[in-house]
Symmetry: C2
Subunit: 339 residues, 2 copies
Amino acid sequence: MKALVHTEKTGFDGLSYREMPDILPKAGEVRVKLKTAGLNHRDLFVLNRHKPTDPPLIIGSDGAGVIDAVGEGVQNVQVGDEVVINPGIGWKEKSDAPPEGFEILGLPDHGTFAEQVVVPADNVVQKPQYLDWEEAGVFSLAALTAYRALFTRGRLRAGMTVLIPGIGSGVATFLLQFAKAAKATVYVTSRSQEKCKRALELGADKAIDSNEDWNQALGGEKVDLVIESIGAATFNKSLDQLRPGGTVVTFGASAGDDIQINIRKFFYGQYNLLGSTMGSAEEYKEMLQFMEAHQIKPVLDQMYPLNQFKQAFNRMEEAAQFGKVGFFMGGNRYWTLRR
Amino acid sequence: MKALVHTEKTGFDGLSYREMPDILPKAGEVRVKLKTAGLNHRDLFVLNRHKPTDPPLIIGSDGAGVIDAVGEGVQNVQVGDEVVINPGIGWKEKSDAPPEGFEILGLPDHGTFAEQVVVPADNVVQKPQYLDWEEAGVFSLAALTAYRALFTRGRLRAGMTVLIPGIGSGVATFLLQFAKAAKATVYVTSRSQEKCKRALELGADKAIDSNEDWNQALGGEKVDLVIESIGAATFNKSLDQLRPGGTVVTFGASAGDDIQINIRKFFYGQYNLLGSTMGSAEEYKEMLQFMEAHQIKPVLDQMYPLNQFKQAFNRMEEAAQFGKVGFFMGGNRYWTLRR
C-alpha cells in the first residue's frame, strides 16, 4: 500500500510517499481502508520525536474509512462498516489524566496517512451520517482536544464568556463552534484580518487583532474562561483578561513553551490554570453526540491528495489555514478538491 | 486606648505603640475589648501599603475578646459575649473569588493590635469553648486561608497525599493539622531540622530538607496536591512532584513573586494551578465546625505583650517561628508567657 513514511532523517526531510507492506489486524483489532485523513500540528512534532534509527513509521492520527478486515473477538463493527477513528489509544474513561501507556495513533504505532491502518476495535466508531468523507476524516483529534478543554476542563456553561486567542487552527475553530452551540459569548483574536472576518461569519461575537491591547479592544470586559494554545506570546495577555476567579485552560504552545507569571497577582485573582491534552474514549463519544445534536461540521480549509503532502504541511507551518487541512487517499482518484 | 499604630514613615519605622482615641460602634457594628491578637505576614505587607500621608492606622487582623459595646440593630451578640473575629470583611458566601469591596481588617480599617476594635457584627462569632484566649486570638486569618486552600480549592479528601513546602508558618501548621484530621497522607519540607522534627511530632508522615532533591527524598513518590506558599524558590520543585492530573494550590510567595514554568510540560501533565487567598464567612463557619469536631488548636509559638511588638515582628521576619506568634493586650497584666 501507499503511505507517508518517516525514516532515515530527522524532521521533514525524512518524510516520503512510498510503498509499505500491508498490515493484518490481530485479535481485538480492525483494519480500516482509509478514504480521508486529517493533518494536525502533532504530525509536525512527531517528525522530530521519531528517531531516524527507529523502524520506518507511517505518521498521521486522524482518518475515516471502511472496515476491510477484523481480528478475532471483534464485536462492535464488521467488514463494510463506515467508521471514524478515535486516535487516543488506551484512555477509556473520563479522568483527570490519561492512564499509563496512553498513546496517540501515529507514534509509536503506524498512523493514518496511508491506504490502510490497523487500530484497536475500541478506537473505531460508526461514521456520523450527516458528515461526508472529507469532514469525517479530519475532525477527531482537534474536536476531542477542543471538547475536553472547553467542557471537561473549562466547565463551559450557557451564558459564560470565553476568549479564544489565535483563531484559525482546527482546534480553535471547533472551540468557537462548540462554545457558540453551548450558548456562550465568544471572543477571538487573530493577527489576520481575514481570519477575524471568517470567525465572525462562523458566529464569534467579537474578533480582535492579536497585536492590539486586548483589554482596550474588548472595552475593558473581562472573561470567565480563556482557552489558550499560543503559549509565551499571548499567555500574560490571556491571564490579564480574566475576571477574578476566572480560568485559563492551556493545551498548546505554538509560540513558546516558557512562560513567566507573577504568582502573587495569580493568587490574589483566585485564578485557575488547567492543563489539557486530547481526551478519553468516553469524551469522544460525548463529543460525537454533541456535534450531531448541533449538526456541527468541521471547517474545511483544504484537502490534498496524499502525495501532495508538502503543500499541506507548508500550509499548516505558515499558519495560513482557517480550519482543517486534510488528505484524500491516493487510491481514491474520484475525489476532487472542494475549493 | 493603647494601640500599635502606623504613621509618618513607610515600613517598620513608621510603627509605634501609642495612645489612640476610643472608637464607637455604628449601626450593625460591635466593639470588642481585645484580650489577644495574632501576628500575620500581612501585617508586614501592610506597613508598605499604608501611605505615610494617610491618617494613622492601627494594624492587625486577628483577635479575640469580649463585646463591650454594640451598635443599633445588632442581633447576633450582646455586651459580655466572648468572641473571635473573622478578619474578612464583605465576603459572605463561598464563591470563586471575593466580591468587589472585600477588605481584610487592619487596612484600610483600624485593626486588632489595640485594646479595642470595631468590626461589623457579622464578623464576630462566639469563641469556641475548647480554645483558651491565647489560642482564640491567633488562628482566624491563617486557619481560614488554610481551610479554603486545602478544602474549597484543593478538594482534599481522605486517602489523598498532600505536600506542604515550608512548614513553620501559621498557615502551614494549620494545613498539616487539617490535612491529617481529614485522613490524608502529609509530607512537609523545611530548611530547618528542628521544624522538620516538630512537624513529625504534629503528625506529618514525612518531613524532608527543602534543599534536597525532593523527588529523591520522597522515594520518587508523586503527590495529588501541593499547597504552595513559598513562590519562586520552590515553585518548580512543587510542580515536579505532582502526579499526572495533580493540583498545586498557591496562596503565598514569601520567596519571590515571578515564576517561570514550562507550559508544555504543564499541559501534558494535565496539571491544575489554583490561586487562593483568605476565604468567605461561610468557609469561616465551616472551618470552626471542622476545628471543633477534631479539637484542633493552633500551634502557639510565642506570645508577646503588645508593647514588645519589635521582638514579635523580628521573630516572624527571620522565619524563626513554628506556628503562631501573638500578642496579649497591654491592659491585661495578668497574662503570662506560655513558654
